[in-house]
């Protein structure tokens, strides 16, 4: 076996050891595959929900069945058969506040992913979801003392103080009728996080939720609801991964973010779903006056992704920054991007995205910038750069701009190209192998996004790029 072949095998092994490990589902509660009102009722009953939530679920199920997928949209999801997806799989364990109380196999999973270590070192709170349920949730005492609430949606619904708040906000930013998979989400949602940051409170360390889908042929439908009150400040990190199977898995979560006047929210995501995953996630933020929404997004996994975080800049002088990178390799067709609606006067939006395609992977970047009639002096810029690493991959850029105000200004630029031979030759002449040279260039290309992440997540992202790149050469 040649040295080069050995290298590739080793990389593939490393990749699997990081994320592609599984534990038996024996003893787990798993609802039958498919979508029926009985399954929806069973989920609701298990969670002992208020009546309004059950009614919402059942109405959403009807909407899901009634809605058609647009025929002119993105990569095919024909391989996704809801009749062969279980919408609820749960380990038979209660939510723990200490890692010691988490069952060993699940604890081992999160330890291998580095979650408890990250919690000790750099987080204000952690939530860990395993399949359909949160298995661990904890937050530092000093953060709780400031009045910050970080819990599950289910727990918030059982709390008389927070149930009315959930009722007021849940499903208002992403209505169930938004699209077919939003409707599916509301019918069978389970797990996720509820975060409330009181006015004027700055959470010094990030909160993190990590979502792990261990079960084969299952869906994960967590709901994240974050309310950052006036003048408050929060960084929330979302991570996700799953082992690889040959059966389709589905992720159809929803993230609703309310950023009130003068507040700031940074929402960072490192997504490394396995390559049998359909990632049809919906994220949306509404931003008040003088408030700021920041998105940092790294998408590495999934077989097919539809992911377009949306920001509604409703308040005057509100702003949004989006930094994203998408890496599509073999068997991946990732349709990602972002949407911004500028409604308030003097709002600003800046979107900077990068995509890398290799080994036959397909990347599609979509964006929409809508400037409303009352958005006097609004400013938006979109920059999209795509890197093609071989001639069997594909990269498409599909931006759209709708401008309805004469004082607004919108700029858009996009480039698609490859690593120039001159650059590779230059680096090779200074002692790099071709693989190292290309990895170095890709690392530099991704740097503007990785530098926006906390150090340990930037390292994780850079490692993911290295692993993908090392497997690409030879």
């Amino acid at each position: 076996m040649s040295e080069r072949t050995e290298k590739r095998t080793q990389v593939a092994d490393v990749d699997r050891s990081l994320y592609d490990f599984t534990y038996s589902e024996e003893g787990y509660e798993r609802y039958e595959d498919g979508l029926t009102p009985d399954i929806v009722r069973a989920i609701s009953e298990k969670k002992d929900e208020p009546q309004w939530m059950l009614e919402m679920r059942l109405a959403a199920l009807d909407t899901y069945h009634a809605k058609e997928m647009a025929p002119n949209w993105g990569p095919s999801i024909a391989g996704l058969d809801m009749d062969h997806i279980s919408t609820y799989v749960s380990p038979r364990t209660k939510q723990a506040k200490s890692w010691e109380d988490v069952p060993d196999d699940i604890k081992n999973t999160f330890e291998r992913l580095g979650i408890p270590e990250a919690e000790r070192e750099s987080l204000a709170g952690v939530g860990a979801q395993y399949d359909s349920e949160i298995v661990y949730h904890n937050m530092r005492e000093e953060v709780a003392k400031d009045g910050v609430v970080y819990t599950t949606i289910e727990d918030a619904l059982h709390d008389p103080q927070w149930e009315p708040v959930v009722h007021e906000y849940f499903g208002t930013l992403i209505p169930p009728a938004d699209h077919k998979f939003a409707a599916l989400h509301y019918a069978v949602w389970s797990g996720g996080s509820f975060v409330y940051v009181p006015a004027g409170v700055t959470v010094e360390y990030p909160l993190q939720s990590y979502f792990r889908l261990n079960a084969e042929g299952a869906g994960q439908f967590e709901h994240t609801l974050i309310i950052v009150e006036e003048g408050a400040d929060l960084h929330f990190i979302e991570g996700c991964s799953a082992p690889k199977y040959y059966e389709a898995n589905l992720h159809a979560g929803a993230v609703e973010l309310f950023v009130k006047d003068g507040a700031r929210l940074r929402y960072s995501t490192i997504e490394n779903w396995s390559k049998n995953m359909y990632n049809l996630n919906t994220k949306r933020a509404r931003v008040g006056a003088d408030a700021k929404m920041e998105w940092v997004s790294g998408s590495f996994g999934s077989h097919v992704s539809y992911l377009y975080p949306t920001t509604i800049l409703q308040g005057a002088r509100s702003s949004c920054e989006f930094s994203g990178i998408t890496f599509a390799g073999a068997t991946q067709d990732l349709d990602t991007g972002c949407k911004v609606i500028l409604n308030g006067p003097h709002t600003t939006a800046s979107m900077d995205t990068k995509s890398i395609s290799k080994d036959g992977g397909c990347n599609t970047f979509r964006s929409s910038v809508v400037i409303g009639r009352r958005a006097e002096g609004a400013r938006a810029t979109v920059s999209c750069q795509s890197l093609m690493l071989d001639d069997i991959s594909r990269s498409d850029t599909i931006p759209a701009m709708d401008v309805r105000n004469a004082t607004a200004s919108v700029g858009h630029e996009a480039t698609i190209g490859r690593i120039s031979d001159d650059t590779v030759l230059y680096l090779m002449s200074r002692g790099c192998t071709e693989a190292e040279a290309r990895t170095m260039v890709v690392g530099g290309f991704a740097n503007p996004v990785s530098k926006e992440l906390p150090l340990e997540y930037a390292v994780e992202m850079n490692n993911l790029i290295k692993l993908e790149m090392e497997g690409a050469i030879g």
Partner: protein
Amino acid sequence: MAESTLDARQDARPTAGHVTLERVNTPPAQTWNYLRANDITLTVPVHSRKGDVFFALPRLFEGVECGMGPTVTAWAESQAKDAHYVEVKAGEKRKEPIAAQEDTGVMVRAGAEATIVICTQPDGPVQDTTAALVRVIAERGARVHLLEFVCGGSDQRLDSVGIVADEDARIDVRQFFLGAGTTAAGLAVALDGNRARLDLTCRYLGREQDILDINHVVRQRGRNTHCDVRESGVLDGHAKKSLRATIDLVHGSSGSEGAELENVLILSDDVTNKTMPVILCDEDDVAGNHGASIGSVGPEQIQYLRDRGLSMQEAEGLYVRALFDEALICAPTPQTRAAVLARATDVLGSEVANDLVDGLGLRDAEEV
């Protein structure tokens, strides 16, 4: 020049009614449907063709993709009174422009050069709908200049153009959409041959209640092909404009470059401007880029012009006048110049139109 006239009122044939053409000007890749930017729906007249003999272009032209899509092609073919086939022989440098009519196919043989003109006729009573369907095949080393002037004359104008370019063929397209009412125009160019090249300039004006819907599709299939697309325009009043511009770098087009840039000047808060610049890339050894800039005249620029005695309206009017200036410079025949001037008179007034004539020295050359 017998310009394209799919005219409902002047046509002697009875109008059987109207038909709705859906998904017109659809780009190869689409955006969110709720943005209503993916296509346009048009209602067009249909004449009875019972008993008519249908003349058609040589079948070779069936393979030419047209910008407005197959629905419009089928409708235009079925409604055209005749199909006009023009062949420019190999090596011939044809000086006389070819006036494209309602259904026209032009074969520009190897090494030949031709100028094709599409122009509406603003004179006479305003018609319901006019249209032109123009397909061009440019053989190896051919050079094609396509000039398109939409200057009013109908409530609704449809221009659907398709061009196929072989090796080393060079295509220059200049479009001026200056007309009132609804203008829907599609241009598809296939750079099939190695080193084929397209230079496309599109200038547009939308004002009052105008609707302007443009679809540009460039397929770069040959190696080392080059395309440069530049669109710019001015929107005022309640005008609604949609521009879809797609550069498709097809697998195998290694060494190709595609660039697209749009600049939009918005003069009114009631304008709706939709821009969708798309790059599809299925090849690594290519360079594709696009850009768009949408906004109004900056306060510094306005102030600069005000300091020199120009009112806001006059300053903004300069941009509109520049459009007509450029259209007049490019107009190759007395008829096209007359059409542009007639429209300039409608928009800018006769005094400014006369200025344009004098500025270009046209008054002595021909009666305009």
